[in-house]
C-alpha cells in the first residue's frame, strides 16, 4: 500500500498527541523537529526528548510509526535529535492554550543558559503561574518536581486547588 500523494506526512505526525499530556500534540510541544520524505520514499521523522530520561520517548516513537503506517507510509524511520536541547520556549501558543484549558499551567520564559557557571537559586523560585482553574495569580509552588519530569506542583491560594505547571527549562 502506498500513500496517496495528497497526504502530507508532517500533518500526520503533527497530529500525534503526547502520551503524558494528551491535550497537546508533539508538534505543539516542539518535540517534533522534522518530517521529510527521502528519495526512496521512506519517511524520516526527527524528535527531541523533553528531558534526557523522559520515559515517554519510546511511546512517542511507536505512536508516530503507527500513525504514519495507518496513513499509508510503510517505511518510517523515527530519529532522535539531541542538539539543540529542547526548551519549553518551543511550546507553541496553541499548545500553551491547550495546556491551560486542560488544567495545566503553561511555562513562563525559560532561564537563559549562558556559557560559564550556572548561578545558584537558593531562595523560593521566582517563577509565577496563574491558576488554570480560577485564573488567580496568587499561587505558590509546592515542589519543583511533579508527576512527570516536565512538571512542577503548585497550589492556588484563592481557590485552594492544587495544579500542575510545566516548568521552565
Amino acid at each position: 500500500m502506498s500513500a496517496p500523494v495528497t497526504v502530507d506526512p508532517w500533518e500526520v505526525a503533527a497530529a500525534v498527541t503526547d502520551p503524558e499530556l494528551p491535550m497537546v500534540t508533539l508538534a505543539d510541544l516542539g518535540v517534533l523537529r522534522d518530517v521529510r520524505i527521502e528519495d526512496d520514499g521512506a519517511v524520516v521523522v526527527e524528535i527531541t526528548p523533553t528531558y534526557t530520561g523522559c520515559p515517554a520517548m519510546g511511546v512517542m516513537r511507536a505512536d508516530l510509526v503507527l500513525a504514519l503506517h495507518r496513513a499509508g507510509f510503510d517505511d518510517v524511520d523515527v530519529r532522535t535529535v539531541l542538539s539543540p536541547a529542547w526548551s519549553t520556549d518551543w511550546i507553541s501558543e496553541a499548545g500553551r492554550a491547550k495546556l491551560a484549558a486542560g488544567g495545566i499551567a503553561p511555562p513562563g520564559k525559560a532561564p537563559v543558559r549562558a556559557t560559564g557557571p550556572v548561578p545558584l537559586q537558593l531562595g523560593p523560585t521566582r517563577r509565577t503561574a496563574a491558576c488554570p482553574l480560577c485564573g488567580s495569580s496568587d499561587t505558590e509552588e509546592l515542589s519543583e518536581f511533579g508527576a512527570t519530569a516536565c512538571k512542577a506542583l503548585r497550589r492556588c491560594r484563592t481557590c485552594r486547588e492544587p495544579f500542575e505547571h510545566v516548568k521552565e527549562i
Partner: protein, 303 residues
C-alpha cells in the same frame, strides 16, 4: 503489509530484532538516528572509557536515590527524588549507549545475550571492578540530611563539569552535556535548598545536616584528580580535567553551607584516582547486586 491495530502492536514490531528485553525499556534506543561518528583525532576507545566514567556516576547515583522510594520524609520529596534519579538514568543511558557506539563494552558482551542493547549490557553485565564511578556517588545514603548533602556535592561537581563539556569536540558528548546542564541545575538547587532548610532549621536538623556534610566531605578526595586518560582527552578537547572545576565547586558549596549556618569542613587532601580506575569499596558491589540480580538470573528474560 499488515498495519498495527494498537500502539502495543507497533511497539512489538519496532522491536522485532531484539525481542522484548525485559530489563531495559525494550523499545527505545536513546541514540537512535544520532550521528555517532567520532571526529578525527579522538581515540574512540578513550572516548568510550570517558563516557563510562560519566555514565556510571549517573547510573549509580540514580540507583542510590531510588533507594528513598517509599522511605522519603514526605510524598512530594519522594516524587522529587524519583525525578532527579530519572534524569540521571536518562543521562546514564545516553552515555553508556555512546560508549557502546564506539565499541567500549568491557567484558559485558561475554555475558549478555546478543539481543540485549549495549547500554543494558554495560549496566547489568559488568562487575564492580569494571565500573568507573567515584566513591562520592557509590557511598551509602546515610540519613536524609546526608543524602541531600551528597546530592548537593555530586550535582555541583557534575554541573560544573557538564557546563564545560558543552564545548567538547565530540558532538554527542557536547549535546548530552548541554541537555544535562538544564537538568542538573534543578538537582543542585533542590539539594541546596534542603541543606539550607535543615542546616538553618531545628537543633536536630542542624546536627544531622552538619553530620551529613562531615560524612560526605572526605569523598571529595579523588574527585578533582584527573586520570591519565582524562588528561589526554582534555588535551584533545574532548573531556574536562576535574581539577579545573575545583574552585567553582568549593565556592558554590561554601556559599550554601554558610547560608545554612553550617561549618564548612576542611577540604580533603588530593588523593590518587580510585573509582575511575575500578577500585571500589564493598558498597558498590552490594548496590550492583541489587541492580543486576534480575538481569543476571534471567539473562534472556522477555515480557
Amino acid at each position: 503489509m499488515a498495519h498495527e491495530e494498537t500502539v502495543y502492536d507497533a511497539l512489538g514490531n519496532a522491536q522485532e530484532d531484539h525481542g522484548h528485553w525485559a530489563f531495559g525499556t525494550g523499545f527505545d534506543e536513546p541514540l537512535a538516528g544520532v550521528d555517532t561518528t567520532v571526529p578525527d583525532g579522538i581515540d574512540p576507545a578513550e572516548l568510550g572509557e570517558y563516557c563510562l566514567m560519566l555514565g556510571d556516576d549517573a547510573l549509580v547515583l540514580a540507583q542510590r536515590l531510588t533507594q528513598w522510594i517509599t522511605a522519603s520524609p514526605e510524598l512530594e520529596e519522594e516524587v522529587a527524588v524519583a525525578n532527579v534519579a530519572l534524569d540521571l538514568l536518562g543521562q546514564a543511558r545516553l552515555l553508556l549507549a555512546r560508549a557502546g557506539s564506539v565499541g567500549v563494552l568491557g567484558r559485558s558482551r561475554e555475558r549478555a545475550t546478543e539481543s540485549i542493547p549495549d547500554e543494558d549490557a554495560l549496566a547489568y553485565f559488568r562487575d564492580a571492578d569494571e565500573f568507573r564511578c567515584t566513591a562520592l556517588v557509590a557511598a551509602p545514603n546515610g540519613d536524609f540530611a546526608q543524602t541531600m548533602a551528597r546530592l548537593l556535592v555530586a550535582a555541583t561537581v557534575r554541573l560544573a563539569v557538564f557546563a564545560r563539556l558543552r564545548d567538547s569536540r565530540d558532538p554527542v558528548l557536547a549535546a548530552i552535556a548541554a541537555k544535562g546542564v538544564n537538568e542538573l541545575a534543578y538537582h543542585r538547587d533542590h539539594a541546596a535548598r534542603w541543606v539550607l532548610r535543615l542546616g538553618d532549621g531545628t537543633d536536630e536538623s542542624h546536627r544531622r545536616a552538619q553530620a551529613g556534610v562531615a560524612a560526605v566531605w572526605p569523598l571529595l578526595d579523588d574527585v578533582f584528580t584527573a586520570t591519565d586518560l582524562e588528561r589526554r582527552l582534555t588535551d584533545a578537547g574532548v573531556a574536562v580535567d576535574p581539577s579545573t572545576v575545583r574552585d567553582e565547586v568549593h565556592g558554590v558549596l561554601t556559599e550554601v553551607l554558610e547560608r545554612a549556618t553550617l561549618t564548612v569542613p576542611a577540604w580533603p587532601a588530593d588523593a590518587a584516582p580510585r573509582g575511575r580506575l575500578g577500585e571500589h569499596g564493598p558498597e558498590l558491589a552490594e548496590l550492583l547486586e541489587t541492580l543486576q540480580s534480575l538481569a543476571r538470573q534471567h539473562p534472556a528474560a522477555t515480557w
